[in-house]
């Protein structure tokens, strides 16, 4: 299950939205075929179809779902409070611009590289763990004053960290989280939400990744 697809599925579950999962075979390169490129010209997963709307980029998809279904399920965007909503946006960008670039290469080395019969590159892992450590030092300070990233409430900003961190925690690199007490406590909290636990069960690398999601209108 691709991390980006998991992200969207977790969001759909938190919002209690019905959806249909349409498999796309990544190992057969289906995402680079013309019929898929017509949906996402970058040839990446996932893609959302909701009526006439076709959407790619998992963070844009999750924001769309959280906004469209803001009155149902868990309040991921804090839309009724301008200040809280603004902070959710800030920490969503922090995940996107600071956290993701450091964690993605680590997960890639541990999980994707071996699938090609190559050993993980320890230099890349170490280099990015150092970067990730510096980012998490800031998270540690932040989470010493608020329970979650955007404030004392779970939000889409925290949710965006789930898929990659879930994979990281199964490797020796987990220490980068475990060494920081507030980050560790935050991780234990967000990963033990029922929706998070259910999604973690579906996250095993190497399977046919389900990529195209059709959200059914309520």
């Amino acid at each position: 299950m691709s991390t980006s697809t998991s992200l969207v599925i977790i969001c759909l579950h938190e919002k209690e939205v019905d959806f249909e999962l349409v498999p796309v075979d990544l190992f057969a390169g289906e995402q680079k075929q013309p019929h898929f490129l017509a949906k996402n010209p970058f040839g990446q997963v996932p893609v959302l179809e909701d009526g006439d709307l076709t959407l790619f980029e998992s963070r844009a998809i999750s924001a769309y779902i959280a906004e469209k279904f803001k009155e149902t399920g868990y309040d991921l965007l804090r839309h009724q409070n301008l200040q809280e909503a603004a902070l959710v946006k800030v920490w969503m960008e922090v995940e996107s611009q600071q956290f993701h670039p450091a964690i993605a290469p680590i997960v890639y080395q541990f999980y994707v590289v071996p699938l090609k019969g190559v050993s993980p590159d320890q230099a890349i892992i170490d280099d990015n763990l150092e970067k990730l450590g510096k980012v998490l030092d800031i998270y540690e300070a932040r989470l010493s004053s608020t329970k979650y990233l955007a404030g004392d409430f779970y939000s889409l900003a925290d949710l965006h960290h789930l898929p990659y961190t879930c994979y990281l925690m199964k490797t020796t690199a987990a220490s980068v989280i475990n060494e920081r007490p507030h980050v560790k406590a935050w991780w234990e909290d967000i990963s033990s939400r029922p929706v998070s636990k259910k999604a973690a069960e579906g996250m095993t690398f190497g399977e046919k990744c389900t990529l195209k999601i059709k959200a059914l209108l309520l």
């Binding site: 790619f56 200040q83 603004a86 946006k89 800030v90 996107s96």
Partner: protein, 218 residues
């Protein structure tokens, strides 16, 4: 009458200029407070309180304090929806979703290689840091592939998210300005017919011309 919003940072910063362009498009009054990065002002405790990663810009709107330029832009567009360019972030959820999609593409696919090239080609020489030819070549190739996707898209659509200039296009202005006007790699953009047409159109908007003027006199 509300106090002007505050933007902290140097006009030469790509992220700061992203926010300035958005404020000018939205006709929102602002006060620019310069931050001298060569003197390390962005690493001082007072600044870190506003931006824990010690990066620019930081932003304040009365009691709301934000960072991450794309989050700041989204906030400005949401709060001041009725001011200035009302189409900038879409006037309906479908338009907004399409804009978010391309804003994410900018942040995830366009920014890493273009940002690396801006640093290597425009900033490193000024900072007397040796250029890394390997990184330049690698990122030029990556950016070329992204621009091939843009070339196809901009053959179907006047702007990235549709027929109107949006926050998604705006977000590309800062890095592209440096590459086209400040380095010898502008042909990455100008040699692609549709990308070249698009660049010409978005960079000749009054709002961007004002930002460039601020950069020259700042």
């Amino acid at each position: 009458m509300a106090a002007p919003v505050k933007v902290y940072g140097p006009t030469l910063s790509t992220a700061v200029s992203r926010v300035l362009a958005c404020l000018i498009e939205k006709d929102v009054d602002f006060q620019l407070i310069p931050i001298n990065m060569s003197k390390g002002e962005h690493k001082k405790p007072d600044f870190i309180k506003m931006q824990p990663f010690g990066q620019v810009p930081a932003f304040q709107d009365e009691s709301i304090s934000l960072f991450e330029s794309r989050a700041i832009c989204r906030y400005i567009c949401d709060k001041y929806a009725d001011k200035g360019n009302k189409e900038l972030y879409g006037t309906n959820p479908l338009a907004k979703a399409s804009i978010d999609q391309w804003l994410e593409a900018e942040g995830q696919s366009f920014n890493p290689p273009s940002g690396a090239l801006v640093f290597q080609l425009a900033f490193a020489p000024r900072m007397k840091i040796p250029q890394d030819e390997g990184l330049i070549k690698q990122n030029q190739e990556k950016l070329g592939k992204v621009l091939d996707v843009y070339e196809r898209r901009l053959g179907e659509s006047r702007f990235l998210a549709g027929d109107e200039f949006s926050l998604a296009d705006l977000s590309h202005l800062p890095n592209t300005q440096y590459l086209v006007a400040g380095t010898d790699r502008g042909e990455l953009f100008t040699s692609r017919k549709n990308v070249g047409r698009w660049w010409s159109e978005i960079s000749s908007r009054e709002s961007w011309k004002k930002v460039v003027q601020m950069q020259k006199s700042g």
